[in-house]
């Protein structure tokens, strides 16, 4: 059986949809962040797979993935810093309680 492009895309879509579901339903900010990571990861997979299957001689998708990983790391670090700060203020990381920039 030949493993074609679509074989890789379907798990990626599932992963992405799981991320969307989690992002929409979870109230815990860290859980939302984890869902976000899932979505980003699904996008990364897409880049890699398209690059590998359609343009094997070039490295654009590869590079994008690399940068995507770096940016995801940066974003996560900042987001967690903010969450910890919020937690310190309100002892709570429920996204429904964080509706105002200032208190």
């Amino acid at each position: 059986m030949d493993i074609t492009l679509i074989w890789y895309l379907v798990p990626a879509i599932v992963m992405f949809c799981c991320g969307v579901y989690g992002f929409l339903t979870r109230r815990n900010m860290i859980a939302m962040l984890i869902s976000l990571e899932l979505m980003l990861n699904a996008v990364d997979i897409n880049f890699v797979v398209f690059n590998r299957y359609l343009f094997p001689s070039s490295m654009e998708g590869w590079m994008f993935t690399l940068f995507g990983i770096a940016i995801a790391a940066a974003e996560t670090a900042l987001a967690i810093a903010i969450i910890i700060n919020l937690f310190r203020v309100s002892k709570n990381i429920d996204v429904r309680d964080a509706t105002k920039m200032k208190n």
Partner: protein, 171 residues
């Protein structure tokens, strides 16, 4: 035609991605969610390896699994008390989330169908990108080379470090 081992390997990766993704967003224990995320990331790394992108797979493991997930675990341990479960989701909420997820899936499926010609390409042969080539791609300025984004990302990371320090600092 792929070898049987390769196909089996694929199925292991695909199933673990699907299963652990679902588990990540459905489990009520936040620490477990982080663990499942770790498995998903490992599976993704394995996927990269399978597609002959060894460097990318290593980066995935090092940065994601080694860095981000550790960060998550720390944050979770700092902000939640052990044994805390998030509340049972109401069915209405679940339904809404499912609708959102399925709508996304539908949009993606629609997009895929509209480009169905490419979907069944089989894996072309490719020489693994050597470290030499990766280095040139990252540090060159010609077409297909990415010095500028590389520098931008380094500045971003620096800004991120400073921002993290400033935000998380005790006042």
């Amino acid at each position: 035609m792929e070898s049987v081992g390769s196909t089996i390997f694929y199925w292991i990766i695909a199933l673990s991605i699907v299963i652990f993704s679902v588990l990540t967003v459905t489990t009520r224990k936040i620490l477990r969610a982080a663990t499942y995320l770790l498995f998903v990331l490992f599976a993704t790394a394995a996927l990269y390896f399978k597609l002959d992108y060894e460097f990318l797979g290593s980066v995935q493991i090092a940065v994601y699994a080694g860095g981000i997930v550790v960060l998550f675990v720390f944050a979770i341990l700092l902000t939640t008390h052990p044994g805390d479960n998030s509340k049972q989701l109401t069915s209405r909420k679940k339904l809404l989330g499912l609708v959102g997820a399925l709508a996304t899936a539908g949009a993606c499926a629609w997009a895929l169908c509209s480009r169905s010609a490419d979907l069944f390409t089989s894996l072309p042969s490719m020489a693994n990108p050597s470290m030499h080539r990766i280095g040139e791609a990252m540090l060159g300025t010609a077409y297909g080379q990415y010095l500028l984004p590389f520098e931008a990302v380094s500045v971003l990371l620096l800004a991120c470090i400073i921002g993290g320090v400033v935000i998380a600092r005790k006042r």
